[in-house]
């Protein structure tokens, strides 16, 4: 499979002239397209350290840019702009502005771990993608991605009770992301289920959404987890040079 590589040339940096004369010679036609020269002066020299300080980003320094991650990537096959190798390059070079240009798709990593499997240097690119998404959110470049909202809803239930109830996660996720529960495909699904499912199972599911499943004697674990989560959030913000009071 070829590497679906993206060059560093962005379309907006390509300039096409209808008529161009260089040193008195008309070079219109084939020679009319140029890459606009750029000077980059605005580096974030701490960028790699910031990503490395977040969970999952620890081993970014090992990357030697072979491109195995991008070559193996599930999302890259759907969208060539999704390019873990390129982002790791930008982070290691400190090109914050360039990285931020792709801010809206970085969170779309599906965690299939093909990159981590393919990486010959144990960079764990899947973790780096998660760390980068967190970084974008913490720095205020992006709002919380729908994936992060889902992770938070799911995790907060686990932290509180030790278990989750699918229906509650689904309802709360849809509410927080402003989506309607009444979408064609969801209605079709539920209708299909209602006609097939045994009544006893439906009752059991209904009860589960009223009396949420929980692990017994979970309070001490729940408190210990809450304390750890607060500490971690503060540590993450500190590593990024942000005010720790902003931690929720």
């Amino acid at each position: 499979m070829p590497i679906h590589e993206k060059s560093l040339i962005r379309p907006e940096n390509l300039v096409t002239h209808e008529h161009l004369e260089l040193d008195g010679i008309d070079v219109s036609g084939h020679w009319s397209t140029f890459i606009e020269s750029r000077e980059i002066t605005d580096y974030n020299e701490a960028l790699q350290d910031e990503i490395a300080a977040l969970p999952g980003g620890e081993f970014i320094h090992r990357c030697w840019q072979c491109g195995s991650c991008t070559n193996a990537c599930t999302v890259n096959a759907l969208n060539p702009d999704f390019n873990p190798r390129y982002w790791i390059y930008l982070i290691r070079m400190g090109f914050e502005d360039e990285l931020v240009r792709d801010k809206d798709i970085i969170w779309q990593c599906v965690s299939c771990n093909k990159c981590t499997y393919a990486c010959p240097r144990d960079v764990f690119p899947e973790g780096v993608m998660k760390a980068t998404s967190h970084w974008l959110e913490l720095k205020g470049y992006t709002p919380k991605s729908p994936a992060m909202v889902f992770d938070e809803e799911f995790s907060s239930q686990v932290f509180a009770t030790g278990k989750i109830e699918d229906g509650k996660v689904l309802r709360r996720f849809f509410a927080r992301t402003g989506q309607s529960l009444f979408q064609d495909w969801l209605i079709a699904l539920v209708r299909g289920l209602l006609t097939q499912l045994p009544v006893s199972l439906l009752m059991k599911m209904g009860l589960a959404s009223v009396f949420h499943p929980r692990t017994r004697n979970w309070d001490a674990a729940s408190a210990a987890i809450a304390e750890y989560v607060t500490e971690r959030k503060e540590a993450d913000r500190r590593a990024l040079g942000l005010d720790t009071q902003g931690a929720e």
């Binding site: 969970p55 999952g56 599930t74 999302v75 759907l78 779309q108 990593c109 599906v110 965690s111 299939c112 771990n113 093909k114 981590t116 499997y117 764990f124 899947e126 973790g127 991605s145 729908p146 994936a147 909202v149 889902f150 992770d151 799911f154 995790s155 686990v158 030790g162 278990k163 989750i164 109830e165 699918d166 229906g167 689904l170 996720f173 849809f174 992301t177 064609d184 495909w185 079709a188 699904l189 289920l193 097939q196 499912l197 045994p198 199972l201 599911m205 589960a208 499943p213 692990t215 017994r216 004697n217 979970w218 001490a220 674990a221 210990a224 987890i225 304390e227 750890y228 989560v229 971690r232």
Partner: protein, 307 residues
């Protein structure tokens, strides 16, 4: 190699009590039909699934380690988890606690505050439902017990991501003959072939279903699932056999979504491998929860003379 894992601690996980209840039902029914003992872990908690890892990987390690401790306390050295996510997470906890000082510290601290002992690496081993059946019954054992051969049923065996990736947390794989393979997993193929099924050569055995973003990035998941479905059809499969509640639910949901949103109808059915195995062992549709799936396979099973 057969005869191992006759009695194991059973970790169903949240999904098998929720959307994956058909997997729970069929796993238990198959265990009973094969005279294998499943003792459910007492008072277990969520393994952290994929979501807690994204909040903090060390918390996921703690959550999974707590379940391994329960198994140890109950006197077991093996936990069987049918869900790929649970299996993956428990394996990852085993690996992290043996290899990562930071994870060990966090787990020790949380365990002591929660009032239970810390799981010690190596005390309990996690296996998947596939290992459980392969190791305790084996293909010959299954062949001897088949009452209702799956002959004529074309199956695409789908393993998903978390059963094989990342490689380093599954030390028992790729150990040569008899072991499972990371790139070409075959345990499900072996088990269903022993049950009489005709396995098709399915190139997307370990491709991703987009389960991590089933709801948060539905368009991506629908495209990935549609690819799995159309490829299975192109391979001539009647049914996709699954071994993971997230993959299974994702395939079913996005099959409906692909039809409603993209107008792409696919007719391949989706069943848990335990449902297919159960039917081969002579269990009824009801006993393996066929009617609990979104993907209604009743007509197909009738057509193939299996019910």
């Amino acid at each position: 190699m057969t005869g191992k894992h006759k009695k194991v601690a059973y970790y169903p996980g949240c999904a098998l009590e929720g959307t994956g209840h058909a997997y729970n039902r069929s796993t238990k029914a198959v265990g009973k039909a094969l005279d294998l003992d499943l003792v459910e872990l007492k008072n277990w908690n969520c393994c952290g699934a994929m979501e807690v890892k994204n909040i903090d990987p060390k918390l996921q390690t703690y959550l999974s380690a707590r379940n391994l401790t329960i198994a140890e306390d109950m006197g077991f050295d093996t936990v069987m988890a049918p869900c790929n996510g649970c299996y993956h997470n428990l394996k990852k906890a085993e690996y992290d606690l043996a290899n990562d000082e930071g994870s060990r510290e966090v787990t020790e601290r949380l365990s002591s505050k929660a009032g239970h002992k810390t799981y010690e690496a190596g005390k309990v081993e996690t296996i998947h439902a596939l290992d459980w059946i392969k190791d305790s019954i084996g293909e010959e054992g299954i062949k001897a017990r088949v009452k209702n051969s799956l002959k004529g049923l074309k199956v695409a065996n789908y393993y998903g991501c978390m059963y094989t990736r990342p490689r380093h947390i599954f030390p028992e794989k790729d150990k040569g003959p008899g072991s499972e393979s990371t790139l070409q997993p075959h345990f499900m193929d072996d088990i269903l072939a022993a049950a009489g099924a005709e396995n098709v050569d399915y190139p997307l055995k370990t491709a991703c279903c987009g389960g991590a973003h089933t709801l948060s990035d539905s368009d991506t998941s629908t495209k990935l699932v549609l690819n799995l479905l159309t490829t299975a059809e192109a391979c001539g499969a009647d049914v996709i056999a699954t071994e993971c509640p997230t993959c299974h639910t994702g395939l079913e949901m996005h099959q409906v979504r692909a039809e409603k949103v993209l107008g792409r109808k696919t007719s391949v059915k989706i069943l848990y491998f335990t449902q297919l195995l159960g039917i081969a062992l002579g269990l009824s549709q009801r006993q393996v929860g066929v009617q609990e799936n979104f993907s209604d396979a009743t007509d197909l099973l009738h057509e193939k003379g299996l019910v």
